[in-house]
């Protein structure tokens, strides 16, 4: 009797596990709703349309940079230069705003594209490990930015261009943030692109087995190159959205986004070894991390404690994910 019951329980657990394996984003949405519930209970009256709009507004830069990180991690890579690219793009846009908003924005995006291209060339053509390549690039980018900031400062203090401010903190109909719309467009392109385009298929394929790709005639280096360029570009966009949202810029603006950009992707169920996962998970992951930090803020946690809890929870979520959905390979 009891063994039968235990067996049934185990069976049900197995089905649950199976479902989680096939649809990990469901469990993530559960975690997200739970966190929202916690906020609702501890600070009644907080959760409402404005709060949701603001949360999405704060999540947008992270969500956008995590999109690029997702693409790169699906190819079994990692991009540690996204934070410095965000900073550089934001700073360039702000310091060039005297010459017109459009030019400033284009230059900022060019920064992302160029850094992405260099990363791509290093990883795809010269076969440098992604960790090293992007680490080196992040050193180069922040070093060059430092020198640049000293050179341009005499022309006047950096000033966030109007368009950027509109995109970053403006709202449509009074409550839908513009950045959320931009994020939505990017998310749609990334999700559909990964599932329904040849390039999307190749991103997974290259991450899963580069040798098999070569034997099937796939020129893996092209795929990698394009992926890193996209990641750099998206990091640039994220930097602009961020600087628009907080209406300011400094030389360490993007730094705090490095861990979250990786964490959102990992929590979202994309394997760091490549070939498996997707952007839906990363999107929910970005929301979870944003809600988490807004929870800490609401609870008035001191900064150091916030940081400790944040790190601990990222490990915990990743561990739970590996346990439930991980294929032992």
């Amino acid at each position: 009797m009891s063994t039968q019951a235990a067996g049934m329980r185990r069976g049900r657990l197995a089905t649950l596990q199976g479902q989680l394996r096939d649809r990990p984003s469901l469990a993530l949405v559960g975690v997200l709703l739970f966190l929202v519930l916690v906020i609702g209970v501890t600070r009644p009256g907080t959760v409402g349309p404005t709060w949701v709009a603001n949360t999405i507004l704060f999540a947008a830069p992270l969500g956008i940079v995590a999109a690029g990180q997702t693409l790169v991690m699906l190819t079994a890579g990692i991009d540690l230069s996204v934070a410095s690219v965000m900073t550089a793009a934001a700073y360039v846009a702000a310091s060039q705003s005297y010459f017109g908003s459009i030019r400033a924005v284009l230059l900022a995006l060019a920064v992302g594209l160029v850094v992405g291209l260099l990363n791509g060339i290093g990883v795809a053509i010269f076969r440098v490990q992604p960790l090293i390549m992007t680490l080196g690039m992040s050193l180069v980018v922040s070093g060059v930015l430092l020198i640049y900031s000293l050179k341009v400062s005499p022309e006047g203090p950096p000033n966030v261009p109007d368009i950027v401010r509109t995109i970053g903190s403006g709202k449509v109909l009074g409550f839908v943030p513009n950045s959320a719309l931009l994020w939505g467009v990017i998310a749609t392109i990334v999700i559909v692109g990964l599932r329904q385009t040849g390039f999307g298929r190749l991103i997974y394929a290259v991450g899963d087995n580069p040798v098999a790709c070569r034997l099937a005639g796939v020129r893996g280096w092209l795929v990698l190159l394009a992926t890193y360029v996209m990641c750099g570009f998206l990091a640039g966009v994220a930097g602009l959205v961020l600087t628009g949202a907080i209406n300011g810029v400094d030389l360490s603006l993007g730094d705090v986004y490095l861990l979250p950009s990786v964490a959102a992707v990992v929590i979202g169920g994309t394997s760091i070894y490549g070939g498996n996962g997707g952007y839906v998970g990363s999107l929910v992951g970005a929301l979870i991390l944003t809600v988490l930090s807004s929870l800490f803020t609401l609870l008035d946690a001191p900064d150091p404690l916030k940081q400790i809890l944040y790190g601990a929870i990222v490990v915990l979520l990743a561990a739970v994910y590996v346990r439930t959905a991980g294929d032992s390979s």
Binding site: I78, G122, F126, R127, V128, Q129, L131, I132, M133, L135, G136, M137, S138, L139, V140, S142, G143, V144, L146, I147, L150, V211, L215, L258, L259, V262, A263, V266, I272, Y273, D303, P304, L305, K306, Q307, I308, L309, Y310, G311, A312, V314, V315, A318, A319, V322, R323, G326
Partner: protein
């Protein structure tokens, strides 16, 4: 595609040729150091004991950070929280050593070393038990340790007794040989030499090279990996103390840069990120190179901010060169097979 491959062709014989080939990278790092040193002396003719001392004191934190990262990476992992652990060691010692005598300072140092080892071991246990990739675990742990450092000391402060500072900067043997260098060599040798000679060191390299094979050879993989992280934590704590010796202040944020420059140093020093390859001397010498370069830039009148840029470019170029070397070797081997 490759099938069983060409038959065994024992390259070279035993002896000097092979020894050279197997240690080519480390020797290259030495050569690079000597070249940079010669350049330094050429632009700074009055280079003397004082400059050597400041070089050693300046390079010590990075040297320990490199040793820490090397231990973890040789064991097949990576620890992106080494800088944060250094910061914790740094602020703990700075906060509690202030206004104390030398003896207490030494006791505190020992406690910090034990604490660092445990902190590293904790990273390792989490990575091993949860099976979350180590990059993710240690990146998150860098937040945790960074938070701990801020809890202990919110702003730069604290200090240490003068005698403690003299552990690095004074000299007892010869003005050209600062104490710091002796401390560095003794500490690293005390930990690394016995390890390297014993079965434990072999296990460390085995686990870094191929976990499955190591397990089948009878190595206890989990504990060995935890050990590699614990060693990393130990050296990170050394680095935190060295940071205090060189700056005479505790700073909760000073450690962070050492995670990245530590990785640069090990890569430059011939430790393969894939694990199982390299040693500690290469990374430590590389740490000296990386410390000398920005100093030289200042001396030669170049923008010192270029230092970071150069470090990044150097890192990438070195790895590119490292990637090309086996490729060229394979080509040469093919040619040899063809003619032979």
């Amino acid at each position: 595609m490759s099938t069983a491959g060409v038959a065994s062709r024992t390259r070279g014989g035993p002896g000097w040729g092979r020894l050279l080939r197997r240690n080519a990278w480390t020797l290259g790092t030495y050569a690079l150091f000597i070249a940079v040193m010669i350049f330094t002396i050429s632009i700074h003719p009055s280079y003397g004991p004082f400059e050597v001392e400041s070089l050693v004191v300046g390079a010590m934190p990075l040297a320990f950070a490199a040793a820490a990262q090397a231990c973890v990476v040789i064991g097949g992992g990576i620890d992106l929280s080494i800088g944060a652990m250094m910061a914790v060691a740094n602020v703990v010692s700075a906060r509690y050593m202030l206004h104390h005598d030398f003896q207490t300072a030494i006791l505190i140092s020992l406690a910090v070393l034990v604490g660092g080892t445990l902190a590293g071991a904790l990273n390792g246990v989490i990575a091993v038990r949860t099976r979350v990739p180590d990059i993710v675990v240690t990146l998150a742990m860098s937040f945790v340790w960074g938070g701990v450092a801020l809890l202990i000391l919110a702003k730069p402060g604290g200090g240490a007794p003068d005698q403690f500072l003299a552990v690095a900067s004074g000299n007892v043997l010869n003005p050209w040989v600062p104490n710091g260098l002796i401390v560095l060599i003794v500490v690293v040798a005390l930990v690394w030499v016995p390890l390297k000679l014993g079965r434990l060191g072999l296990a460390l390299y085995a686990v870094g090279s191929d976990r499955t094979a190591a397990f089948r050879r009878g190595v206890r993989v989990g504990p060995t990996r935890v050990m590699s992280y614990a060693l990393g934590g130990f050296f990170a704590a050394c680095g935190g103390l060295a940071l205090l010796m060189s700056t005479d202040i505790g700073s909760p944020l000073a450690g962070t840069i050492y995670t990245l420059s530590g990785v640069s140093a090990i890569v430059l020093g011939g430790v393969s990120l894939a694990g199982g390859r390299g040693g500690l001397t290469g990374p430590i010498v590389a740490a000296f190179v990386l410390t000398l370069v920005p100093a030289d830039l200042i001396l030669s009148g170049t923008d010192p901010n270029l230092g970071q840029v150069i470090q990044g470019v150097l890192l990438v170029l070195v790895v590119m060169a490292g990637g090309l070397a086996p490729l060229l070797r394979a080509r040469a081997r093919e040619r040899r097979v063809q003619t032979g």
